[in-house]
Amino acid sequence: TIGMVVIDYEGNIAVGTSSNGANHKVPGRIGDSPIPGAGAYADNDIGGAVSTGDGDIMMRFASSYQTVHYIREGKTPAKAAEITIRTISRKYPNFMGAIVAVDKKGHFGAACHGMNFFKFCMQNQYFTKVRIISVTC
């Protein structure tokens, strides 16, 4: 899955996902990617978030919506993602997934579980090339 957040020059936020789902899935199964609030969610007044990983598990927690909700409550994007990830891992200790979150000012962070680290890409006007950022899970 690719989850992408775009914030334009006016600070307007768009998020999106594209995925071919889980390998060897039961025919008919869709993952969290296309589900609003799960694969991705954005609120221009607050921020946005995208999720990737075990979609069957993550979608049960509306992981992207929940993360944006924590940002609405004043948490930093990294903290918001971490709280959501921890909520999921308490119920599903073996799950594997990650959330990338951003607030409306463009401050961003990520959290992950079920792997050693998670890398994500960032590009803004201060970098001529994409920056790869790694977070420890």
């Binding site: 690719i2 334009d8 071919n20 199964r29 990650a98 463009g106």
Partner: protein
């Protein structure tokens, strides 16, 4: 310092970097966040990022690849999505077509493909030699891993077809640890 304009993308391998670059380039050229998002997601679909995006990846139990995509605009709270989309490669752009040309939020399955063709998208196979080979290999290893549980024959050992197991036969379903490549 203002942090915007900005593009963030899950995962960090080369293809995802290329998708990020593409999205940011479009954003600086067009100032259009949706066009930027679509170009970035489409880049990954065409590059088949990590085998978890786009055609020819993650075949289901029958060997078929189907696609999921979502476009969500935070300004107007508008969205479009497709689930289990067969035989159309540009899943992200079809999701955008759902947002642009319908009042719905998500279309799924074969009817989503019919909608896409009606909106001008090309119907084409999502099979590739590698998805076919991956599926054959999976069958040879007794269809492991799979997403079945509480069925007969034992899904931890055998391929289907399956039927519900009665209580005595129930097998503990161990949630298989999603590997990096066996996830959404």
């Amino acid at each position: 310092q203002s942090q915007v304009p900005l593009v963030l993308t899950t995962w960090g391998t080369d293809d995802f970097q290329a998708a990020t670059t593409k999205a940011f380039l479009t954003l600086t050229k067009t100032y259009d966040r949706i066009e930027s998002l679509l170009d970035g997601l489409t880049e990954c679909e065409q590059l088949q990022c990590d085998g978890t995006v786009g055609f020819g990846g993650s075949p289901d139990e029958t060997g078929e690849t189907r696609l999921d995509a979502l476009i969500y605009d935070g300004l107007n709270h508008e969205m479009g999505a497709v689930g289990s989309l067969p035989n159309v490669k540009n899943a992200a752009r079809v999701a955008y077509a759902v947002m642009k040309y319908t009042k719905h939020s998500i279309l799924v399955g074969d009817y989503a493909a019919n909608f896409a063709v009606e909106m001008g998208f090309k119907r084409e196979s999502l099979y590739t030699n590698s998805s076919y080979a991956a599926h054959q290999k999976w069958i040879k290893q007794n269809c492991q891993p799979n997403y079945r549980k509480n069925v007969l024959p034992d899904p931890n050992k055998f391929c289907g077809p399956y039927k519900p197991a009665n209580d005595e036969d129930r097998f503990m379903f161990s949630h298989s640890q999603g590997s990096r490549r066996n996830h959404d």
